[in-house]
């Protein structure tokens, strides 16, 4: 790998991203906490259990149907903290601005961040601003980090998946990815294709307060549902079997994917999560999720199985079964 250059596909969240982290970052930074490979680090500090996570946002365009880079920067990190079973408390915000970036756009973005933070009940308590020469970045990049308190009695990890557990998905897939892509390329999608960008911590808190036994929480962002479930299958050493007909995909998203040759199971989401839960608690978790605005379309989409370990299968609409692999590189529009 040392002879190669970084390519865009290394940032896709799929196999190449994993290889880059495994081959370049991991050998330098390896430690027990990082090795847990969750959406954030789970820390024990003086008897207090904290979750800590960071992410950088470089989305283009900056404003898209259903959100903007600011909303995304807050919700993304809030969700990563929440996926550790934690109540997010404080965020940091780092801005890298390109010389010449309109102040009015910056004001719009920070107002959006404030609005999202308010909804999530978190405070942005520290930050940093750098300005670089024109052309050094594309407008604005934002990094956020977040910290939250892990709820008492809660032990969430991608390593907790066990055969027999049900897998719940909180709602429709692919909306964020297509909304951004539609705006970027001027593609005319129906108005219903809007980013699902939303803070999920309220939904997580409601769920975990009633059912502390939840095993795994994860938000299927880059790489989509398929890559997320592959990661969990690998982390836990289990298999996963999904039912295609149970996976919620809107007709607008499906139609757009058909035209472009995309698979909605690999599209990024910013306001969805998967929940692994024991069969006896499934209905209770589903009820709670369905009563919440961000989980109203929640449903069971599959189960954890023993074999084949580390793999995800999909039972298709016509009754066949096929492998659902991790994303390799970015999904690219087809020619034919």
């Amino acid at each position: 790998m040392s002879n190669e250059c970084v390519q865009l596909a290394h940032g896709s969240g799929g196999k190449l991203s994993h290889d880059l982290i495994k081959d370049v970052m991991w050998p330098a930074f390896a430690n027990e906490i990082l090795g847990e490979m969750n959406d954030g680090a789970q820390l024990h500090i003086s008897g207090c259990r904290l979750a800590f996570s960071t992410d950088s946002y470089v989305v283009k365009p900056l404003f898209f149907p259903g959100g903007d880079i600011g909303k995304l920067a807050v919700c993304g990190t809030v969700n990563d903290v929440a996926m550790n079973g934690a109540l997010p408390l404080y965020l940091s915000a780092g801005f890298v601005l390109e010389e010449g970036f309109p102040i009015a756009d910056l004001q719009r973005i920070v107002a959006s961040m404030q609005q999202a933070a308010k909804e999530a009940g978190v405070h942005i308590v520290t930050g940093d601003t750098k300005v670089v020469e024109k052309g050094a970045v594309d407008g604005i990049y934002i990094n956020t980090a977040g910290i939250g308190k892990i709820m008492d009695g809660i032990h969430i990890s991608g390593k907790n998946a066990l055969p027999g557990q049900n897998i719940i998905l909180s709602g429709y897939l692919g909306e964020h990815s297509l909304a951004v892509m539609g705006e970027r390329h001027g593609l005319q999608f129906p108005q219903s294709v809007r980013s699902d960008c939303a803070p999920l911590n309220g939904l997580v808190e409601a769920m975990l307060t009633a059912v502390p036994k939840v095993a795994v929480l994860r938000d299927p962002t880059r790489g989509g549902l398929a890559t997320t479930l592959n990661e969990i299958a690998l982390q836990s050493g289990v298999g996963i079997m999904l039912e295609e007909t149970h996976i919620p995909i809107s007709s607008a998203v499906q139609a757009a994917c058909d035209i472009l040759g995309f698979d909605p199971l690999y599209l990024a989401n910013e306001g969805k999560m998967v929940v692994f839960v024991e069969p006896e608690s499934t209905n209770q978790v589903l009820d709670i999720m369905q009563q919440h605005v961000y989980g109203s379309e929640a449903r069971v989409i599959g189960t954890v199985v023993k074999e084949p370990r580390g793999q995800v299968g999909l039972r298709t609409r016509i009754g066949g079964v096929r492998l659902l692999d991790m994303l390799v590189g970015d999904q690219l529009p087809r020619i034919c």
Partner: protein, 366 residues
């Protein structure tokens, strides 16, 4: 079919599967799906596992990226290295290896390469970047060629002087003829490409039944479309007849799309073309007519291209002719994987090897 309930779909699939098994009983059959979108749909819907083992589906030369020869990639890569050139391309082409590089690597090293979703988007890049020579990589079959032709007409009308096309457009029927004429690809029936047929209609496939006595069915892309088309092929084979049938009549008119064909023949003329794995096939390509030669990249922008080399041991050529299933290639899944492809069939989302790998042919135990 989209209006069917899940239960109805399952029932219909079970019916076709059962009938296919009965009709195929006691014989070994090879059916070729010509289109890459069919290949993906077959794997994606788990059709291979529903068919009996004696009915083998093999992929043909129907993935436009896969059949594009190294030489074309090398030319595009050479153009991308010129500082006054902007390459516009569908995303599939980025990762395809040429003799010594890929467009993705060139992009990472600073070449101006933009992914577009249509040829008209390439035109917009040309209009907005008058200081650049904007080259559109025109790859694809009869389905996409009309849009590239339309872009040339529009560039002509709007007097754009910095828009060029590097044409690798190809025609499907001559490739099927070449495949059969070689006598090596034993095929009992063809699943013919729905999208291509929507443009060219049915007549260009007449030679399959008339000259080679091979059944053909133009098929749609829903899983049930494909199962039904396989069933229709088996009915013909069982009755020892060979006809051209249209399973996809809801989209494909018998006469095709005359206005798309008109644009095609206005801008392009048939010419010989080199196909990866099949070599030079007479009249299987589309080159830009003299009237529009101002938009032909090769004729207007001088370029020196490196000597073309094929990846050693790469068997894409055999895979594209249905002579080798990917799992029998020594490189498959080892040296050649989607993240490190050796050949084009592992690169394209519609490539046979990519589909075998991605959808785990034989890797998921039911």
């Amino acid at each position: 079919m989209l209006s069917m309930t899940n239960e109805e779909v399952k029932k219909a699939a079970a019916f076709f599967t059962r009938e296919i098994e009965k009709l195929a009983s006691g014989r070994s059959l090879r059916l070729m799906e010509v289109c890459g979108t069919h290949t993906v749909s077959i794997f994606k819907s788990g059709i291979r596992q529903l068919l009996p083992e004696n009915v083998e589906l093999v992929s043909g030369p129907g993935c436009p990226v896969c059949v594009t020869p190294n030489e074309y990639l090398d030319t595009a890569i050479a153009y991308s290295r010129k500082s006054d050139v902007m390459i516009t391309t569908f995303g599939d082409m980025l990762k395809v290896p040429g003799s010594s590089s890929t467009l993705a690597k060139e992009k990472a090293q600073g070449s101006d390469i933009r992914i577009v979703y249509s040829s008209l988007e390439a035109l917009e890049f040309a209009a907005k970047n008058p200081d650049k020579k904007v080259i559109f990589l025109a790859v694809g079959f009869e389905t996409t060629a009309p849009t590239a032709a339309a872009a040339i007409l529009m560039a002509d009308e709007t007097h754009l002087t910095n828009f060029y096309v590097l044409s690798a457009h190809k025609l499907v029927p001559p490739a099927l003829r070449a495949l059969l004429a070689s006598g090596k690809s034993h095929v009992d029936g063809f699943l013919l490409p729905g999208h291509v047929s929507a443009i060219i209609g049915l007549q260009p496939y007449d030679f399959l039944s008339k000259e080679y006595h091979i059944p053909g069915v133009v098929a749609g892309f829903e899983p049930l479309d494909i199962l039904q088309a396989v069933y229709m092929l088996l009915l013909q084979i069982h009755d020892q007849t060979a006809r051209l049938e249209n399973q996809y009549s809801r989209i494909v008119p018998k006469e095709g799309n005359p206005s798309a064909c008109r644009i095609l023949s206005q801008v392009y003329q048939q010419s010989d073309a080199v196909w990866r794995g099949l070599g030079k096939i007479p009249n299987s390509g589309m080159s830009i007519r003299e009237k529009y030669q101002a938009f032909d990249a090769l004729l207007n922008i001088p370029i020196i291209v490196e000597e073309t080399k094929e990846a050693s041991q790469c068997q894409c050529g055999k895979v594209l002719r249905g002579l080798l299933q990917p799992s029998n290639c020594l490189l498959f899944g080892k040296a050649c994987r989607p993240e490190h492809p050796i050949g084009s069939c592992m690169v394209s989302v519609e490539g046979t090897c990519a589909a075998w790998y991605k959808y785990g042919a034989g890797r998921w135990q039911v």
